[in-house]
């Protein structure tokens, strides 16, 4: 499946849910927020939220800032 993740297009994504995608990317789900096609996916929905071909996914976390 093709997904755009953080602005980067990836053609070979095996994950079909947000939880699987975070696992595939080796990202701990606790400290991030995920948006799919501009809609926030709640942490409790990571396992059930299905990803579709062409989805735009944003994964964000906290960095140093003032």
């Amino acid at each position: 499946m093709r997904l755009t993740i953080n602005g980067e297009t990836r053609e070979d994504v095996a994950a079909s849910t947000v939880a699987e995608l975070l696992g595939e990317l080796k990202i701990q789900p606790g400290r991030v927020a995920v948006e799919v096609n501009l809609t926030i996916v709640r942490k409790t929905d990571y396992g059930s939220f299905s990803l579709k071909d062409g989805d735009a996914v944003e994964i964000v976390s906290f960095v140093g800032g003032g």
């Binding site: 991030v32 501009l38 964000v60 906290f62 960095v63 140093g64 800032g65 003032g66």
Partner: protein, 256 residues
């Protein structure tokens, strides 16, 4: 006597709030934050590095159990972006607190107060505890409170400029007229600037560059800690009025 700052039921252990940007590395960030004595740190929301998973996370150094994490919307120039970043921050974090920035101009980083007001209203309605970064304008401060701001954060001077308190008289008017806590945010350069803000009666000071950009950030963090305490005590003690002429401290009586 307890002199704790509380906002919307959240009690803060320090009146010095510290940003986590511009440090050499996370180790220095951690040491400076510890030396400042703060329990509130600001953070930004950015894309997670999805290619290099070995890169460290800020929260490995700043324990969210020990510090209150106040995310910001730095870098947002529109209401849409500020609201989007705020919602993401709430989902990534553990609280409803958000420091709203809607920036109006790249060179000054002054806030776009019209956008700021709109974003504040939207987010307050969604249950956020909104801390708007604004100009030192008493009228806008009042409008932000009407829109639901939990506190108002007027700038001392442009972000990162180190110019200090450019308009103490406006801050005084804000302090007299605004019923929510006032936290000076941005532009302070050194300890005396922080002390002045606190002596005016501000409830807290938020700074980043003044510590992170100092030659010795950890030492400067300590200086800021003392400046906040000194300024707060001086405010509460009540300073003497300024007079043009001298008043002798030693008695005339008993002189030869």
């Amino acid at each position: 006597m307890k002199d704790r700052l509380a906002i919307r039921g959240i009690e803060f252990g320090s009146r010095l709030w510290v940003g986590t940007g511009k440090y050499k590395d996370f180790e220095e960030t951690k040491k400076a934050i510890e030396a400042s004595g703060t329990d509130v740190v600001t953070v930004a929301v950015r894309r997670t590095n999805i290619t290099d998973r070995k890169s460290e996370n800020l929260l490995d150094y700043i324990d969210p159990k020990k510090y209150k994490i106040l995310p910001n919307t730095a870098g947002c120039y529109t209401v849409t972006d500020a609201v989007r970043y705020s919602r993401l921050a709430r989902e990534a974090g553990v609280s409803d607190m958000i420091k709203i920035e809607v920036i109006g101009d790249e060179k000054t980083l002054f806030p776009d107060v019209i956008g700021l007001l709109e974003a504040t209203e939207t987010l307050a309605k969604e249950g956020f505890i909104v801390f708007p970064y604004t100009n030192d304008d008493p009228i806008m401060a009042r409008r932000l409170v009407d829109a639901g701001a939990a506190a108002v954060m007027p700038l001392a001077a442009p972000i990162g400029s180190g110019l200090g308190i450019r308009n103490p008289y406006n801050l005084k008017i804000i302090l007299e007229t605004i019923p929510v806590p006032i936290i000076v945010d941005a532009g302070v350069g050194t300890a005396s600037d922080v002390a002045i803000a606190m002596e005016l009666g501000c409830d807290a000071v938020l700074l980043n560059t003044a510590i992170a950009g100092a030659k010795d950030p950890v030492m400067m963090a300590g200086a800021m800690k003392h400046a906040v305490l000194a300024g707060r005590l001086a405010f509460k003690a009540g300073r003497i009025p300024k007079k043009l002429y001298a008043t002798a401290s030693s008695p005339i009586e008993g002189m030869l």
